[in-house]
Amino acid sequence: MATWKRTRGFWVSIILVFAFFAVVQWLIASGMLNIFYVNTLFFMAINVILAVSLHLIIGITGQFSIGHAGFFAVGAYASAIMTMKLQLPFAVGIAAAGVAAALAGLLIGVPSLRLKGDYLAIATLGFGEIVRIALLNIDYVGGASGMTVTHMTTWPWVFACLLATIVVIANFTNSTHGRACISIREDEIAADAMGINTTYYKVAAFAIGSFFAGIAGALYAHHFYIIQPSNFGFLKSFDILIFVVLGGLGSLSGAVVAAVLLTVVSTFLQNYPETRMIIYSLVLILVMLYRPKGLMGTKELTSLFKWRKAAQGGMNHDNKNTVA
């Protein structure tokens, strides 16, 4: 029975996850969810993927990147080129989106070897803008008027990508590599002195994070019929940033919850875009002034349940001092 006790959490989550998938699939198939709710749901999932992928870069590795919309854009365009120009299946489009964005992540990860903090932030912001301006000027992808993309994103695809993102990033965080990344976040010089190859892990975090941002881009492109460079400006990067910041810098479940909540909020405020941005900016300022670690800090949602804590013992990084 000891095995059951240890793996109980795992099996329970698997059952819950597939039950959730089946219920939503049934609701969509039976037409009980109208198109508005389906859109919101898909948008929610895409935002969660983006938030979790940025969480790996900012929350876990401590690399302040504010050009995430750039990777998102690379993924969206790469997948659109695959499916629309080269007539390849959607699966290839998704894979290509991930790979293209990961390559872009490597590209921006390499300068990040030499940059820290503010400089890295501004360099990634610059990178996002370069991507947007480049897309604006390439006629092959339609320039400013953008590309039309057929609708291919379905619930199984969205769900599979969402699940893959969360599982990969959660497992990465709990692996040796994830520990190394956390140590870089806490104190890069000390991590280096302990023999951790900081360069390698920083670039790896960038590559993995941008890979999933690219996948989110593929889902986005094939859901909204048209993609334009103006969809990927730095306001989009700030949107993603606020998910991570609000959820807690270093909390995966925090990022997920914040992405879901804020997607709902922004859907309701769709007709008042200024109000939405004013609320967003006030939230950013107030959270930083009064709770600079974000709402969840580095805590995970699961650590709120006592029995999980007891079962996992020291496995969960739920206390404040992540790396003791």
């Binding site: 030499r114 503010d118 501004i122 360099a123 610059g126 000027n137 600079p292």
Partner: protein, 292 residues
Amino acid sequence: MELIQQLVNGISLGSIYALIALGYTMVYGIVRLINFAHGDVFMIGSFVGFYAVTMLGVGFFPALLLAMAACAVLGVLIERIAYKPLRNATRIAVLITAIGVSLLIEYVMIYLRGAQPEAYPGALLPGGNIKLFGVVVSSQSLFILGTSLALMILLQFIVHRTKIGKAMRAVSHDAEAARLMGINVDNTISATFAVGSALAGAAGVIFGIYYTKIDPLMGILPGLKAFVAAVLGGIGIIPGAMVGGLLLGVIESLVSGLGYSLWRDGVAFVILILILIFRPAGLFGKNVREKV
């Protein structure tokens, strides 16, 4: 001749960047903070100038002074409300707050007056063109250049010849030691924000006259480019910001002159990334070893 023409345009544009970059570099030099809201202070300055001219009917210089005063107050308010409580917080927290302040100013402005652009009244400065060795220079761009240069000389005077300037230099060198020497660090930081923001306000009015079109999101791109200019010259170094701004303006004009005007905004960021990779301390900076 085409080349010289572009060069003149570039210098006018560059002097606007230089004025904004001075504010970035001064603030960074003293509190090590990228003040993302600086570009929005520039936008507010532009609008204050616009309303002063259209509603109060004043001329160029009163409008310029009014914009500078309003921006100085705004800069100090931003510092006191948003940045001061975070003096000892992590870099990420401060940077996120700065982004928040920037978005707040932009969208409160849109909320108050709408997002539609506004056209600056054209007859503020004497018109006409001056021919110099076959190059046509508008008297407007000479006027702009003259105003910017005068402001930069004034800044040099403030920083190097006055008591508050001495205090600024002392605090940027070592805030703790300056405090022990009896310098009021908080007031000095506020003064730095006031001076930097006033320069951004002046740049806003000049920008409005030069480009005629102003709107609430106009601060974003010039703000970022001015930051690039500050990094290019070496952030924290005042002459560096001037040279960086002028250089960036000239490069941009040359790029558009060569027929790649759509890539103009991208070039600034490419320069930024190249500078950060190959010479992170900037053209005028010295490499400082990191202390553990």
